[in-house]
């Protein structure tokens, strides 16, 4: 379904929720980035020590890449067309055909190969999302939601970025909506998605996800004293990057979700959701304090001057406070 309006770029905190918000708005469904994030049930925490990315264990504050697209599809009744390609040529011509039809197209890319990213931000991360909304000469017109302004990217470079191999390889993934409802029954949808997300955080069967995942990470930090100092510091830095650097809107998506709860509270005239939003904002502030403590530890000259147990205690406090928010949410939106 090609939109009939001119595409409007906007600055978002996170790539995937930003892309989906821009795309929904283009197709006439006004959903903010926090609403997209919340309705997709994308808030998470996972610490998976046996999955390594760039030599560091996986630490995630949100659900898997593509989970926002898929979650939104499942929860609010949009239909997305998602296509991957067996060759660069097929992927490139499919994109060009969609653009000729007037479609704005979501694409999964690798950050490292996008020339408009500054050198300092280029790492091998293969699940970066952006919108291609046009083509001029040898450039694609790009709306990358984590940048303030629209960008241009040479055709060859975008092809490279779409077809890198490796973990989470995009395989040229393109996506666009085939059906977007004109409105959503929020009174039914919002309680359901909040309850589901809160349950996922509180009642995980595995110790590496949700609140239990946060506690497991805390214990790992407490044991870092025994590790090589360089590794210990890189590990702490890695946590800060996953929480703040990768475009989370601050505090590892906790502020985005608090914004969603606030908006949801206003839509449903539910004061308890507004209260939960304030609680989560405070939890987010604690996550930021934790990040600050980690940054100080990275700067410490000697291992002896880093109090790892203190870091562990702080993170356990954060886990307690966050669990409290989910319990309140479950009490509010009921047992659906």
């Amino acid at each position: 379904m090609a939109g009939n309006r001119k595409f409007i770029h906007d600055h978002s905190a996170h790539c995937e929720s930003g892309v989906m918000s821009l795309m929904m708005r283009h197709h006439g469904l006004d959903l903010s980035e926090p609403m997209v994030f919340g309705l997709a049930g994308a808030l998470m925490f996972a610490y998976i020590p046996f999955v390594k990315l760039g030599g560091m264990p996986l630490v995630a504050y949100r659900s898997m890449p593509r989970a926002i697209i898929k979650g939104l599809q499942k929860n609010i009744g949009i239909t997305m067309k998602m296509r991957t390609f067996s060759s660069v040529a097929k992927g490139a011509s499919a994109l060009d055909n969609l653009l000729l039809r007037g479609e704005i197209v979501g694409a999964q890319t690798s950050v490292f190969w996008l020339p408009y990213f500054p050198e300092e931000m280029r790492f091998h991360f293969n699940a970066h999302n952006l919108i291609v909304y046009g083509k001029e000469d040898k450039d694609y017109l790009i709306s990358d939601p984590v940048f303030e302004n629209p960008m241009r990217c040479p055709v060859k470079d975008l092809e490279k970025a779409r077809f890198v191999k490796g973990v989470m390889a995009p395989k040229g993934l393109l996506y666009y909506p085939q059906h977007v409802p004109s409105s959503i029954d929020f009174s039914e949808t919002i309680p359901r998605v909040i309850a589901k997300n809160a349950k996922a955080m509180l009642k995980t069967p595995v110790p590496i996800a949700g609140i239990r995942g946060i506690r497991m990470l805390a214990r790992t930090i407490g044991r870092l004293q025994r590790k090589d100092l360089r590794y210990a510091k890189l590990f702490l830095g890695h946590i800060v990057r996953m929480q703040e650097e990768i475009g989370t809107g601050g505090a590892g998506f906790r502020f985005i979700y608090a914004s969603f709860l606030q908006e949801a509270g206003a839509i449903l005239h539910n004061a308890a959701l507004t209260d939960a939003s304030e609680m989560l904002t405070q939890v987010g502030d604690q996550w930021r304090e934790f990040a600050l403590m980690l940054a100080r530890a990275i700067r410490a000259k000697t291992g002896a001057s880093i109090d790892f147990v203190n870091l562990q205690t702080k993170l356990e406090t954060v886990a307690d406070a966050e669990a409290e928010v989910y319990r309140k949410l479950l009490g509010t939106v009921g047992r659906t």
Binding site: V146, K165, G249, A258, A291, I298
Partner: protein
């Protein structure tokens, strides 16, 4: 976090870009605030970049000393490690380790070199040599 507490520390790793942050205004309502960066994030990013540079510099010296082929340096210089390079080229790690030996690397057929130049995004000429000393000779 309140909007007026959103850090605006002009951090170098943003290279004059801004990131969107979610913060509450004076009425407690969430808004999007453009941030020029937080020092905490800069410390973490710089630490990661310094580590990549350290590995590339160390590799440079080892290549000069004849312990490894130039591929070893270029792998780190392109911000990869053995695992990433293996996934990007489709070569098994043991095969790449073999290609890291100077004697074996110098005899690699163009066909195999092309897999590396493609994955690393550099020319064969660059791949088979080391860049001048100034940047990496420390």
């Amino acid at each position: 976090m309140e909007a007026n507490n959103v850090p605006q520390q002009n951090i170098s790793t943003y290279a004059n870009n801004k990131k969107a942050m979610y913060a509450t205004n004076e009425n407690g309502k969430y808004t999007v605030v453009s941030s020029t960066g937080w020092e905490v994030e800069e410390i973490a990013t710089k630490q990661a970049l310094a580590e990549l540079e350290r590995l590339a510099e160390k590799a440079y010296r080892q290549v000069v000393a004849g312990e490894f082929s130039p591929l070893y340096f270029h792998m780190y210089e392109r911000r990869m490690d053995l695992q990433t390079l293996s996934q990007a080229t489709g070569f098994f790690k043991w095969r790449i380790r073999r290609h890291l030996k100077p004697a074996i690397f110098s005899r690699l057929p163009t066909r195999l070199l092309a897999r590396y130049t493609e994955a690393l995004g550099i020319s064969a000429e660059t791949l088979c040599n080391l860049p001048p000393l100034e940047k990496y000779g420390r």
